[in-house]
Amino acid sequence: MNPLLDVEVKTIRQLTPLVREFTFAAVDGKLPRFSAGSHVQVHLPVPGRALRNAYSLLGDPSEPSSYRIAVRLQDDSRGGSRFLHEQVKEGDRLQLSPPANLFAPSSQARHHVLVAGGIGITPFLAYIAELERRGASFELHYACRGGLTDAYRAELAERLGERFHAYDAAAGRRLDLGEALAERPLGSHVYVCGPQALIDDVRETAARLGWADKRVHWEAFAAAEPGSPFVAELASSGKRIEVPGDTSLLEALEQAGVEVPNLCRGGVCGQCTTPFLKGEVEHRDSYLSEEERTTALMPCVSRGRCGSTLTLDL
């Protein structure tokens, strides 16, 4: 495993009542470079828990002297976003896993259509810096709610001019994807980051209009949802690990000292796929096939059934 990065919280900006921006700098040495679309896992020292949440890096990839993330306060938060909003102060130290990228812009695209929903704007801030440097053709569609989830809207409007389209739900404006994806030039690719409903909508609309799957890219940024408590048993050692309702199986394993390779912590990348031998699984990922699900699960989001014991092949 890559060593963790020790960072200091340099600045905190409240962008909207729901969105806070954090700037991190290395405690010593330099931060690794990153590519547009990368994310880091922020290790959150929530008392009694070992929480790690993934956040997109939104700075300019050509200036990696600091990292910036923006965090939306989640209503159904398991504590991660609330901790960042309420506990973390400027000058505090945190640990990050090094950047990883599951959402890079296509090198083949001749035109990039970026679609953001709310806090899903974050990876595109890095995209825009990169695409502007390449002189690439692009447009940004931002579905948001004015005054709540419209972080960076004013500066984007000024910076991008006609390439920027905001749809403020508070003002009754809706993003019509049928319109946004119609008549785009032949080499276009579309990228979407936002709530699952928006991702589904982009994928369905693109498919209906005849976009090949390879032109459609998405990143779901939602973290694990809470569930019911259950017990995980390790087949090799017989060790039993209690998984509370507000903890993911991956986090429970990590707390018990079992390291499982992982990247997205959101059920999309497949890195943490773990075989199981016995038990009933509540699959919540969007990666494994039905067949794979009979013998494996993704512990970053999926869980054993309430009160049951799940035997992992670990």
Binding site: A182, E183, P185, L186, L209, G210, A212, K214, R215
Partner: protein
């Protein structure tokens, strides 16, 4: 592409007689080598019944849009693709040489392989001599003589999608040169 839809990763392309399912599209382009062939007519009818706008170009045998000249067909197709949106699907019907020439042009214009369906008619195909880089049109035969270097060649099932051609390699290690140089 039809040979990918068939689930094979083998080098030699496998072609479906007609697209099994007509995939969703905003617009369809049909490019046929010879519009008088039954396969071309069947395909045209299938695509027309799918409902989206359909444009047909043909090299031979169509009174309306016939080009009669490969150069003119290329120019017309390039022009069509230059203002076509994403969601355009291209259907190409003809012999293997024709299919891959049109496919290469379309991919250069920004279409992806997944957005192109190839429907093969006839037996003509391209061969590329790996010794002298000469390309020539051949039929179904498994051996031939290179028109460039005169070497007796085995036509392999090794197909290059980039070149749109089968690889021809010297069939007899004891005769590595053409007859006139032996």
């Amino acid at each position: 592409m039809s040979h990918e839809a068939a689930g094979t990763m083998a080098s030699k392309p496998v072609y479906a007689p007609l697209p099994e399912t007509i995939l969703p599209a905003s617009r369809r382009l049909l490019v046929v080598q010879n519009a008088t062939l039954q396969a071309a007519a069947d395909l045209h009818e299938r695509l027309q019944s799918a409902g989206q706008p359909l444009t047909m170009l043909s090299l031979q045998g169509d009174a309306g849009q016939g080009c009669n000249d490969p150069q003119m067909l290329e120019t017309k197709l390039r022009d069509l693709l230059s203002w076509s949106p994403v969601g355009t699907r291209l259907y190409v019907c003809g012999d293997e040489s024709f299919l891959w020439q049109v496919s290469a042009l379309a991919r250069n214009a920004g279409l992806l392989g997944e957005e192109i369906e190839l429907i093969k008619t006839g037996e003509r195909r391209e061969m590329y001599c790996v010794h002298c880089s000469t390309r020539q049109s051949i039929g179904a035969e498994g051996e031939t003589v290179c028109t460039g270097c005169g070497v007796h060649l085995l036509v392999r099932d090794h197909f290059s999608q980039r070149l749109g051609a089968y690889m021809g390699v010297c069939i007899d290690p004891d005769h590595p040169h053409g007859e006139d140089k032996a």
